[in-house]
């Protein structure tokens, strides 16, 4: 035989009288205040802005993705607008400039011709050929 739904309901209703242990709420309040003080100290610190931003975002629900996408788009647009523009190549002037023609440096072959390649001294141990 199974208990009826009413009997199940009556059994469960007895659980309405469940109470936390004595002193539970005193400890609970003490911890609650402690935790709040810690949170306030955290908010006042350098990590506070990030904490506030994440709390704000978590409160937005599904719309946080729309905000995120909007911010990403705005960031990309700002990056595009602020990035340096490509270097403009100026066209070379067509008017001939006056150049003073300098005599060209002699080529390497001409320099070689000027060099005396004869042996500076005759060897005594044998004839040298060039």
């Amino acid at each position: 035989m199974k208990p009826s739904a009413e009997e199940i309901g009556a059994l469960l209703a007895l659980k309405r009288h469940e109470r936390p242990e004595e002193g539970f709420l005193d400890d609970f309040l003490r911890d609650f205040h402690q935790r709040r003080r810690e949170e306030e100290a955290l908010k006042a610190g350098p990590a506070g802005w990030w904490h506030r931003l994440s709390s704000w975002a978590s409160g937005l629900g599904a719309s946080k993705w729309a905000y995120g996408a909007g911010l990403a788009y705005a960031g990309a647009a700002a990056l595009f607008l602020l990035s340096p523009s490509p270097v403009q190549v100026q066209p070379t002037p067509t008017v001939p400039a006056k150049y003073q023609v300098e005599p060209a440096e002699p080529t390497a072959v001409e320099q070689l011709d000027a060099v005396d390649l004869r042996p500076s001294s005759q060897g005594t141990t044998g004839e040298q050929e060039f």
Partner: protein, 200 residues
Amino acid sequence: MPDDPLQPDPDEDLVARARSGDTRAFDALILKYGEKLYGLVYNMTAHKEDTYDLLQDIFAKAYHSLPKFRGHSSFYTWIYQIAVNMTLNFLKKRKRRGGGMSLNEMDSAVQTDPALVDSSHMANPEKQSKLHELQKRLNEAMLSLSEAHRTVVTMFDIQGLPHAEIARILKISEGTVRSRLHYAHLQLQSKLQEYWEQGI
């Protein structure tokens, strides 16, 4: 708990003071509703430490969200809704983390819940022992229910909320609430059948 639009919220003054930064007013709200919310969270999680931590989170969330509270419902309905949503989210996370709670992990205090011990049976040790066993079985059966079913049983049978209020808080239809309750009761009846047959 249902809100009567003609009745002013009995916590209106405390809420207004808490919103203006009076921490004692918020303490008074914690003292007023702490035990009721404890029953809700404890019967849903079956774990004392989890209940304590969750209640801390629930009241902290309510405290920070007070500026957003518009008074469309009573403060109790509002914080009750926060409690249900946060507990359901916690249970989902706990399930993902560890594949749900095994009966071995069940809080020993739930198994020896004095609430089920009828004082008229106190003089009869045999009857009292059977009641203890029945109570243990009932708690085990409760934990064998899915979170969705355990939630409606907790809200309806233990906390005494009407179907319409449960539907509003859980954002489901009243029909779904009734159907979940019916299924959950069948499950509980089946789980308790063996002990019921022995008679108490």
